[in-house]
């Protein structure tokens, strides 16, 4: 099923050269509020990423609030996009999401296996949390 947020992101990246795509990712990164330092702990970090990524989640009014941050801008840009799509939704909705934008903006094909693995780890972690919140 198509998703309006993802379609809008895809539209923005459409036809851009890779350096411009990175430029766009950087501007998305700048939009993302930094995570409070106290939450940037080893416990909250996700392994499998070339740059450090921290995750923090909590429930609010039946929705899952996700806070992600990274020390690297490009990674931060990618997680900023990811948050636009997955954040602040009921857990079931998150589990049902097909994250097709990653492929369609060219991220999947452009990320090396190691980097793609990092992104996959982040998505896996979000899904795990959503699943836990279902029970």
């Amino acid at each position: 099923m198509r998703d309006a947020v993802q379609d809008e992101i895809i539209g923005q990246f459409d036809g851009l050269e890779w350096l411009d795509k990175y430029g766009l990712l950087i501007s998305y990164a700048k939009e993302l509020e930094p995570m409070d330092k106290e939450f940037r702990t080893e416990e909250n970090s996700i392994s499998g990423c070339q740059s450090k990524v921290w995750i923090r989640t909590y429930r609010e009014n039946g929705r899952l609030i996700i806070d992600l941050d990274s020390e690297a801008m490009i990674t931060k840009g990618i997680i900023s996009l990811l948050l636009k799509v997955v954040n602040n939704r009921p857990p079931q909705e998150i589990l049902d999401l097909d994250l097709y934008f990653i492929d369609e903006i060219g991220l999947k094909s452009n990320l090396s296996p190691a980097r793609a693995d990092g992104l996959a780890s982040i998505i896996r972690r979000i899904r795990e949390v959503a699943e836990r919140e279902m029970n």
């Binding site: 350096l19 990175y22 950087i26 070339q50 020390e71 690297a72 801008m73 490009i74």
Partner: protein
């Protein structure tokens, strides 16, 4: 200086529509046509197992394999080919020594430098030794005079050149001190053998480890020099091809080097090292050193002159790698943009986490040079850096 790029077909490649600037040579170097042809020719006309067959192909393969050993031996100034063993690479060479000396190392101490990569740290720990660092100054110059040798010190294992900083360690001075105490020294030449002439007898070390793939030969093959006085240590691995007589009660081993080469070796790889040595020697190691020094110094000085760039390490002699960071920009972000500009560098901790802690950083951007790199490559790197800064401004 002539352009060696033409000898390396991969360097013709365009990435993202730009001419490839390959500056990840400390990870692995590209291969000249002569090496590629040697590997291809081996499989298309000579392929056979060595030291076993009575037949024609086996004879030819064995001959080429042993000829390569002889070339390596001459290249590093070993006393005789028997002192050179083919291994799977530097890491394997070091692991073999660690394993063979396990009974001596266990519960004792190995001295290392502060710039070692994990391959010259972990094998010693696995063998049960504790590690102690040889002191160095702020520029990462080793201070051999402050080496402290105790009853527990059983080996000194140091890199000739750092894979991160490009700093060259004063190995001869270290060996001199070690000799006074009759301590063997292992030199990790992974990051030096392709950059400068090496003479193990002049250095006076007992072991020297190097990788084929960093010196323009195949991956998965390397060399280990073992001085004659350690020629009778127990092999780390057993199997076919390394034994004299086997009974279920007892086995006796062949003399070195064969006793250290259990099983079928990487024959094509070993032969490719000879082709790589021929290639380098045709140019001349001194000439390579001179050309690389010119390009390296040019790049390093330009980086040092650039505001907002931190360049790590500063020793008397340097080669190969330059590590740096752009102020306020994560090394990973720098590497990604450089990649899109066709410039291949490495980012991260470069398998040298203790050194990263000393430098006070999580990681660096590393540009590492080979004989085919030019000042133009360095200029492209600097342009790339400007672009990175613009993008993250």
């Amino acid at each position: 200086m002539s352009d060696f790029r033409k000898d390396f077909p991969i360097l013709e490649k365009e990435v993202y529509g730009k001419r490839l600037v390959y500056l990840d040579n400390a990870a692995t170097s590209q291969k000249p046509n002569s090496v590629i042809d040697t590997i291809s020719d081996y499989y298309s006309s000579d392929n056979s197992n060595i030291h076993r067959g009575v037949h024609y192909l086996s004879e030819i393969s064995s001959e080429k394999y042993e000829k390569s050993r002889e070339e390596v031996s001459n290249f590093i100034g070993a006393g005789e080919p028997g002192e050179v063993t083919f291994t799977a690479g530097t890491t394997d060479s070091i692991n073999q020594v660690a394993c063979s000396l396990k009974s001596i190392l266990k519960g004792n101490e190995v001295l290392v430098s502060g710039v070692e990569h994990h391959s010259n740290i972990v094998p010693w720990q696995l063998a049960g030794a504790t590690l102690r660092e040889i002191p160095m100054d702020e520029g990462c110059n080793l201070l051999p005079d402050s080496i402290e040798i105790t009853d527990k010190t059983k080996l000194i294992a140091i890199s000739h050149a750092s894979n991160v900083l490009g700093s060259v360690n004063p190995i001869k001075e270290v060996v001199e001190i070690a000799k006074e105490h009759d301590i063997p020294v292992l030199v990790d030449a992974a990051q030096s053998i392709q950059h400068m002439p090496i003479d193990v007898q002049d250095i006076g070390c007992d072991f020297l480890a190097a990788s084929g793939h960093k010196m323009y030969a195949a991956t998965g093959v390397g060399v280990l020099y073992t001085s004659e006085r350690f020629g009778d240590i127990l092999p780390a691995r057993g199997g076919g091809g390394m034994v004299d007589r086997v009974t279920l009660e007892e086995t006796t081993y062949l003399k070195p080097p064969l006793r250290y080469e259990a099983g079928t070796p990487h024959i094509a790889g070993a032969i490719s090292i000879a082709a790589a040595i021929d290639y380098m020697q045709d140019i001349g190691m001194d000439k390579i050193r001179e050309h690389e020094h010119e390009v390296y110094s040019y790049a390093r000085n330009k980086l040092l002159e650039t505001d907002g760039v931190t360049v790590y390490g500063n020793t008397k002699e340097m080669c190969g790698s330059i590590s740096f960071n752009l102020d306020g920009i994560h090394h990973y972000d720098t590497g990604l943009i450089l990649d899109k500009m066709g410039i291949a560098v490495r980012t991260g901790h470069h398998c040298a986490q203790p050194l990263m802690r000393t430098l006070g950083t999580e990681g660096t951007v590393r540009a590492s040079f080979a004989l085919y790199n030019t000042k133009e490559d360095a200029d492209r790197l600097l342009e790339g850096i400007e672009k990175v800064r613009m993008m993250y401004a």
